[in-house]
Amino acid sequence: MESIGDLLHGFSVVLSWQNLLYMFIGIVLGVIIGVLPGLGGANGVAILLPLTFAMPPTSAIILLSCIYWGALFGGAITSILFNIPGEPWSVATTFDGHPMAQKGQAGEALTAAFTSSFIGALFAVIVITLAAPLVADFALQFGSREKFSVFFLAFCSFVGMGKEPPAKTIGAMMLGFALAAVGLDTVTSGLRLTFGSTELIGGFDFLVAVIGLFGIGEILLTMEEGLSFKGKAAGINPAVVLQTWKGLPRYWVTMLRSCVIGCWMGITPAGATPASFMSYGIAKRTSPNGDKFGTGEIEGVIAPETAAHAAGTSALLPMLSLGVPGSPTAAVLLGGLMIWGLQPGPLLFVEQKDFVWGLIASMYLGNIVGLIVVLTMVPVFAAILRVPFGIIAPIILVICAIGAYTVHNNVFDVVMMLVFGVAGYLLKKCNYPLAPLVLAIVLGDRAEEAFRQSLLISGGSLLTFWSNGLVASIMTLGLIALFWPFLSKLYGRVVTPATQK
């Protein structure tokens, strides 16, 4: 295998003390960036990019990509501990991660999150190593209609899954779509739903909504119950990592499926956020413990984290081989490559072998270093929950406010965060599910954009979504996923009487 030889060469490029040091620094910085909501990986990489101009490109990309890995790891920490997703792709991690922390299993949840992140990334890197050119061709197949079908599938595999009344699920989801529509309509360049307000031209940012709905909403719920902080019992247990690991191999099917979903979503490129939602939705439907999802099931942490990390990692492939970034962070890295005089695109793999394989080798090493760094910190993170609510709550409030501000450097977003916080409290108390709401905010405008692009290309014909094998099969899968509860009931009715006889 030629690629194995290239990879070994890559390792020889990367393995120097200096580069390992950069890796370590990058991971630690990345974890910090991932923990602070609003200061996303894209921000972090963008801010540090100019500092790396004086370095050799290979070292620079190692430092920056390790910040990226670190941010992927770090996003899970605040999601689990405080119900505040530090990054969009860790929203799905809060669904079961935070209930686990409330039950006093923060250490288990963190270990599961980090470990499955690592497995997802490793899987994606192996895919990149073995199938880079093939994968690049696959990504080229994805035009607007294919992209829409992927969003459609992500949506269908997630909706209709809660115990909440259907009318409330629809109400919450549609509210999300409405919020996503506010601002500039990218297809016609016209403003809509802004009602003349200049504050609204940027629309509602997903992160601001999420920080409010989840983070502030959680504080309000905790306040209502008095000043007790549920996770108080969380003990510092250094052996928690090993104990959790023993239980993980049981979930290998979930992990493998999440890896595949993640890689696919990363390459197409739909991104890590829809990947994590989709993976969570499918895991919930197929798991025997599906009913308990949302109450602190470890599988509900494994599925989104594996997929998010696999997607985040494989998103680098279209960036390198096509010059199309699969995520905002990848977009900034792309800018960095150009500044170092490297031209991402089909020729990068031919002309810059040292660099490309060095980078791929650093993905292996960076993730191993990252896993070690974050796992050693698990007991420390878990211990944060022992801080009394009276002290931690104002700190969380301030961090949320800073997070909301830094998303767009706009004070108005802090106001919106508080509004979303109160809304989150009321909606949750009134049994409206928040997950479909946030999924609609994330995917709403992107799905609409892809849908309308497709119709522009097809001249307004909806048949375009069934016009070739690829898009037709994804759309059909989506429909099956949408009607799955109904179909499985139907199937059950047909099969059960037969078996009973």
Binding site: F177, R192, M223, P394, L397, A401, C430, F451, R452
Partner: protein, 167 residues
């Protein structure tokens, strides 16, 4: 979760009244969405839907779904309590200071406002002593300042105090 059966004597609003309020408010948002969509056109042109097409139907669904939710809450025979007034008071103890905090940020800057919020929360709700309160509120902002302004070069809103100090 609050358990209203613990002490049924303590007064508080009924769950169904709150649900009706929330449903009515969401339906109102749906109507606003529909009006906004009508302003930009809701038709289906030759090149696919116009700007307002999706939001209009989304708005309509919000109205319909929440109209139903309102009705369901109205006919709900359960007289379950939403929360005790005392609990709601506790929630407001966070909401009001946050509202003042958010209003203060543009004038005082984020750092000074955050120090005041932290002090207020720890003294008023947490009832901690001054040394700990001051230590945490000031320490947090110093850490924030170094992390954001120095390491990550992210400028947070500043007020007159920072101008005075030349930060």
């Amino acid at each position: 979760m609050s358990n209203p059966t613990d002490d049924p004597e303590l007064p508080g609003p009924q769950q169904r009244h709150v649900e009706m309020g929330v449903a009515a408010f969401l339906a109102l948002l749906g109507i606003v969405t529909m009006i906004g969509s009508l302003q930009v056109g809701i038709g289906w042109g030759a090149e696919g839907p116009k700007s307002g097409f999706f939001p209009f139907w989304v708005g309509l669904l919000i109205v319909v779904a929440n109209g139903y939710n309102f009705f369901r809450a109205y006919v709900d025979p359960s007289r379950k309590q939403f929360a005790e007034w005392r609990q709601i008071g506790l929630v407001l103890k966070v909401v009001w200071p946050m509202a003042i905090y958010v209003a203060a940020v543009p004038w005082l800057g984020l750092y000074v406002s955050s120090v005041l919020l932290t002090i207020g929360f720890m003294r008023w709700i947490g009832r901690y002593g001054w040394p700990l309160t001051l230590g945490i509120s000031l320490g947090l902002q110093i850490v924030t300042y170094i992390t954001f302004e120095k390491w990550f070069l992210v400028a947070l809103p500043k007020g007159p105090l920072e101008d005075l100090l030349g930060l």
